[in-house]
């Protein structure tokens, strides 16, 4: 009996060590990037030679980085908006109606995120050429939306299934029409699920590089593409470091928000 207890205590300690090791491997490199963005040495010698904000100042004034950032934000917002619209509509259709092929919809929506990005990228590239669509922000947004839809769809579908239809029936029973019911009852119940899905979508779109490579135009670069292009130009390395550090912070915020939003405000039924 006591042996079992001691064994489980030892097991727990071992598990703690492994967990710590994994966290170190994942997060120490990220910390190094952030620290190096303040490192006075241009070659990033370790330990850091001294503290400086000059790389941050240079990055701030880099027009290439700034326009890439703007493109990324636009693409992220655009892809998220498309995903919110289509994902919500698909979730409604699947949860509230019966129709031919209903069981297949989830699979079709999920597939783009499971497919290798390079396959999606090449396929979209070909399709845009055939359709004669000029490459640019629009094509990037479409490309990102293909794999963003699933996050909104899954979140919304899970919420709609949990809600069932009785709140909506109650609303209509009390005299509300279809639009009033959506506005006052369904949407408030769905809001946190959509917000969580949207925030994750933005984060996903923001750092996407493979599909973007195949759908961007030479003049329209997202931030990840800009970083990739400037990474091996020695003059730009410190600026890239700063941009990477900024990106870490920018990515953490939506993911953290999404988790909080999904965690509370779940809204049970009564």
């Amino acid at each position: 009996m006591s042996g079992a207890v001691a064994g489980s205590a030892r097991g727990r300690r071992a598990l703690g060590v492994v967990t710590a090791a994994v966290l170190v491997v994942v997060y120490v490199p990220l910390a190094v990037v952030v620290i190096n963005s303040f490192n006075r040495s241009r070659t990033f010698g370790w330990p850091p030679a001294g503290f400086t904000l000059s790389w941050w100042a240079r990055a701030w004034h880099s027009t290439g980085a700034r326009s890439a950032l703007a493109t990324s934000v636009e693409a992220g917002l655009g892809a998220t908006a498309v995903a919110l619209l289509l994902g919500t509509m698909a979730a409604f259709a699947v949860s509230r109606y019966r129709f031919f092929g209903r069981e297949t919809v989830s699979f079709l929506v999920l597939l783009p995120i499971a497919l290798p990005g390079i396959v999606t990228g090449i396929a979209l590239n070909n399709a845009f050429r055939v359709l004669g669509l000029p490459f640019g922000l629009l094509t990037i947004i479409i490309g990102h939306a293909t794999f963003c839809i699933v996050l909104v769809y899954n979140n919304a579908l899970a919420r709609l299934r949990r809600l069932g239809g009785s709140l909506e029936e109650a609303s209509m029973d009390l005299g509300a029409g279809v639009l009033q019911t959506f506005r006052f009852v369904t949407f408030p119940q769905l809001r946190s699920a959509l917000l969580a899905g949207g925030l994750l979508d933005f984060a996903l779109s923001f750092d996407e590089i493979i599909v973007t490579t195949f759908t961007a135009a030479p003049g329209v670069q997202t931030l990840p593409l800009w970083i990739f292009g400037n990474l091996f130009r020695p003059n730009q390395a410190p600026v890239v470091n700063v941009v990477a550090a900024a990106l870490i912070v920018l990515s953490v915020v939506p993911v953290w928000l999404a988790q909080r939003v999904a965690g509370d405000a779940g809204g049970g039924r009564f």
Binding site: E169, A170, S171, D173, L174, G175, A176, F184, Q189, F270
Partner: protein
């Protein structure tokens, strides 16, 4: 309503040859039913008997496959729920979790664009009616089951519906609270004076609360009538068995016991168990058998007797009653007696 009701109107709610199929399942099979204005009416039946589907067709959540639904003389068969003068208390209450009690109750008035001051006034009044004054700013999650039930009631009643529909309204409450609410609902219905139509699978609830009831089985109506009528004169063996308990006898045992073919019902509380040697009074019939089980259930004593003629009868006595012989042990030879007037012939 400004529209004059046709002369054929007999009451508030009328189902006319209503049938509902879900795919290949026949949920409601050609039901015709009239419910008078101001009645407390119960739809009673086991689960899957079609009673809830009927309620949902009256509320407008389901459309009949064939037949018509009338509300106050108006054909509402294909009218949407939000255009009907009915309101529903849902089995799970379906309160809006993101709204306060006052917002829940005021919802129907809000979507109908009733002025804010009048809304507040009416919400306050109806919360008083269901004894929830002071709870206006709570969220449903902060209420007990009984309080949620009252909010659901208030939310429906504030709209002053012509007919209030209640779907197993007390199903989620514990027994004590349920019995309290039964009386309270009954009182409430007398106070507001509108038609209450409620669905239940609990025969005690239906007997206690309703003015009249309809017994459902397998999508069909077995019997419609006042509780006493249905209890004392069940129209079918199903009703006799479903409402209360009945000892039902047919065929050869019926011939042996009652001297006639047919289906007979004897209520357990109308039977007495005597020792085999006891004398039977002249105005009673009797049969011999063996006591096979004795169950003490607080207020009642429930005994099972296997008659020599074949059937097994259940007998219940109030534990305080003196007429029956409570000292008899399991396995004893006994004599069952009953007044011939207690015997009810089903068919």
């Amino acid at each position: 309503m400004a529209v004059a009701a046709p002369a054929t109107t007999t009451g508030d709610v009328r189902l006319e040859g209503v049938t509902k199929r879900f795919g290949s399942v026949l949920a409601v099979d050609d039901i015709t039913l009239d419910i008078a204005s101001g009645e407390f009416f119960a739809l009673l039946g086991p689960s899957g008997s079609g009673k809830t589907t009927c309620l949902r067709m009256i509320a407008g959540f389901e459309q009949p496959t064939s037949g018509k639904v009338w509300l106050a003389g108006r054909d509402v068969t294909s009218v949407a729920p939000f255009d009907r003068e009915t309101n529903t208390v849902f089995q799970d209450y379906a309160l809006f979790p993101h709204m306060t009690v006052a917002q829940n109750v005021g919802y129907g008035l809000m979507v109908k664009r009733v002025a804010k001051s009048e809304r507040r006034h009416r919400v306050e009044a109806v919360l008083g009616t269901v004894r929830l004054d002071g709870y206006a700013d709570r969220k449903p999650a902060q209420l007990s089951g009984g309080q949620r039930q009252r909010v659901a009631l208030a939310r429906a009643l504030v709209n002053e519906p012509r007919v209030l529909l209640l779907d197993e309204p007390l199903g989620a409450l514990d027994r004590k609270l349920r019995e309290e609410m039964q009386l309270e609902l009954k009182q409430l219905q007398r106070d507001v004076g509108i038609t209450f139509l409620f669905v239940t699978h609990d025969q005690d609830e239906a007997l206690t609360m309703s003015d009249r009831m309809a017994v459902f089985n397998g999508g069909r109506l077995e019997q419609v009538g006042a509780p006493a009528e249905i209890y004392d004169r069940p129209a079918t063996p199903f009703v006799a068995d479903f409402i209360g308990t009945s000892n039902i006898v047919e065929g050869a045992p019926a011939r042996a016991l009652f001297g006639s073919d047919g289906v007979f019902s004897l209520r357990p509380e109308r039977l007495r168990v005597l020792a085999e040697s006891d004398r039977v009074s002249a105005d009673e019939s009797s049969a011999e058998g063996r006591l096979v089980d004795v169950v003490y259930a607080g207020a009642t004593l429930r005994r099972v007797v296997a008659l020599d003629a074949g059937p097994v009868f259940v007998v219940t006595d109030a534990t305080s009653a003196s007429g029956s012989s409570p000292e008899l042990q399991r396995g004893a030879r006994v004599r069952l007696t009953w007044k011939p007037s207690s015997l009810y012939r089903l068919g």
